[in-house]
Symmetry: C2
Subunit: 300 residues, 2 copies
């Protein structure tokens, strides 16, 4: 490099364009090197590196950069307490899902996206509860266990469960539903087991009235998520699991618009003729049966 | 891959974690492949690829992802017509600057960031105008030419010029300034020449009252931009140039928080004793002289 780097206005650069981009990337990464938190320095440096690599590889034009900025500004305008367009963008870009993949502990059940419809205030209900409460929908008996990496039951595990109703809507989208409809927490038995009666979930679309919807339309992308149950499994001493279960054969299983489907999270819905279970819940046979074993990884 | 990919809940994946991330990245890139505009497919695919690479290399945790989402949501809350936190984030991450670098046409004067203070409605003033209008500040006689790649004058070129005042503020930040203070458009002479009288510009800080300011503080980064003039140069048949000129010796030249300084954009401010010029503008000698030749690349 010449010593007149910042001086000569008529100086010709002799290095190729790739060096200029590398120099800029280094400069930006270096600008974070003195962060008080070393992890902040690392994460921001890597974010700069990869965003720069995107601009370089795509040869992004100023007009395209401006379109991106317009996209973010329009996303800002539609974002509120109830609706976060940035979270949706993260989901449809597979970023939320990638965070799941890279933070997946060894040996546990795969995690999947949390989605926007989780409420922290779900009620604790008795194990074996009936969540259907007379509403429409195919009856599903969901039962299973929470175990550790050795297959041993975990004591004091809890599941937090939520899903959409037979019309495809969550309570937050549907004023006709009780806010606690088809959601609950259940404390598992000492042997790790739990069971509940619920209904079959349904596919639904992500919100399409914002910039992300326009992007999906311009990309001719599927806007549907396959039917799924949401489950958070937690137990003291174990890594918490945020995941989803997908009924085998559901539409959109291979084209989930938020990329949440994982091998091992697709489950059989089998017709069940168990008269004792039918009698306990007051339902006809055959009903649908779904069984799943959640495996939690130890903390630390 | 097993044929039971979406079936067995107890299936063990035999491939290492890197394959899972590659598979997810491919899936997301492929989801954009059917966009009506092939360039949209390309740009979004590459954006997904590089954002995924960021998540993988940084091993981003869910807590960090959530902090990022909180950052974007807070940026949304502060963004308005007058204040765009996303644009500022792009600037301080060197992304705006990288777009400049990769879109730089061969042989032209380097471009630099536009910044938030450009107005489209600047008044056309006569070549040789005095923009100082009695305000405080060191007098600077700024003159030069607009030429093509062969050094030949470009006829019908126009410069659009703006800067901050002696208090470091732009009109948009300072109700005491006329909105047209220290800004104008000038039509160059047939020989490509232009000149005007203005004042020395000053360093200033980017806005620090939002999430970007908090990020800069946590990163212990400089929040100042070096003193500069903004210039847009345009002429029919040539690629428009958005650039900045930096007085030699300015503070923060090597640590511009938006990474806008380029070799060839740092210019001498020389004391000038030209009595004719002093008389024309009614100023004392010596005043400061700054000369610059803008080179535009041909379109197409």
């Amino acid at each position: 490099m010449k010593t007149t780097f910042f001086k000569g206005q008529t100086m010709q650069t002799t290095s190729p364009a790739v060096s200029k981009t590398d120099a800029l990337t280094s400069e930006v990464m270096q600008s974070f090197a003195h962060a008080t938190d070393p992890r902040l320095a690392q994460v921001m440096g890597l974010l700069a590196k990869h965003l720069h690599a995107f601009v370089v590889e795509s040869k992004l034009t100023k007009e395209e950069w401006l379109r991106g900025l317009t996209f973010l500004t329009a996303s800002a305008a539609i974002t509120s307490e109830e609706r976060n367009e940035f979270s949706l963008f993260s989901d449809i870009m597979g970023i939320s899902s990638m965070v799941d993949v890279v933070s997946q502990p060894e040996g546990g059940t795969p995690s999947s996206v949390l989605g926007p419809f989780h409420n922290h205030d779900s009620r604790l209900r008795a194990n074996g509860s009936d969540l259907t409460e007379g509403q429409a929908g195919d009856r599903v008996w969901f039962h299973g266990r929470v175990v550790d990496a050795d297959g041993q039951p975990i004591q004091n595990a809890q599941i937090d469960f939520w899903q959409n109703a037979d019309n495809g809507l969550y309570p937050a989208q549907d004023p006709d539903q009780d806010p606690h409809n088809l959601r609950c927490k259940i404390a598992c038995e000492a042997n790790g087991s739990f069971n509940l009666l619920t209904i079959r979930p349904h596919p639904y679309t992500v919100p399409t009235d914002g910039p992300v919807g326009a992007l999906l339309a311009a990309s001719q992308r599927n806007i549907w998520r396959p039917a799924h149950y949401h489950v958070i499994v937690s137990a003291s001493g174990y890594v918490g699991l945020v995941t989803e279960l997908f009924p085998e054969g559901s539409a959109y299983l291979t084209e989930d618009t938020v990329f949440g489907v994982r091998p091992g999270l697709v489950v059989d819905f089998k017709p069940c003729h168990d008269a004792a279970v039918a009698q306990r819940f007051g339902i006809a046979t055959p009903f649908l049966e779904m069984s799943f074993e959640f495996c939690l990884a130890k903390q630390g």
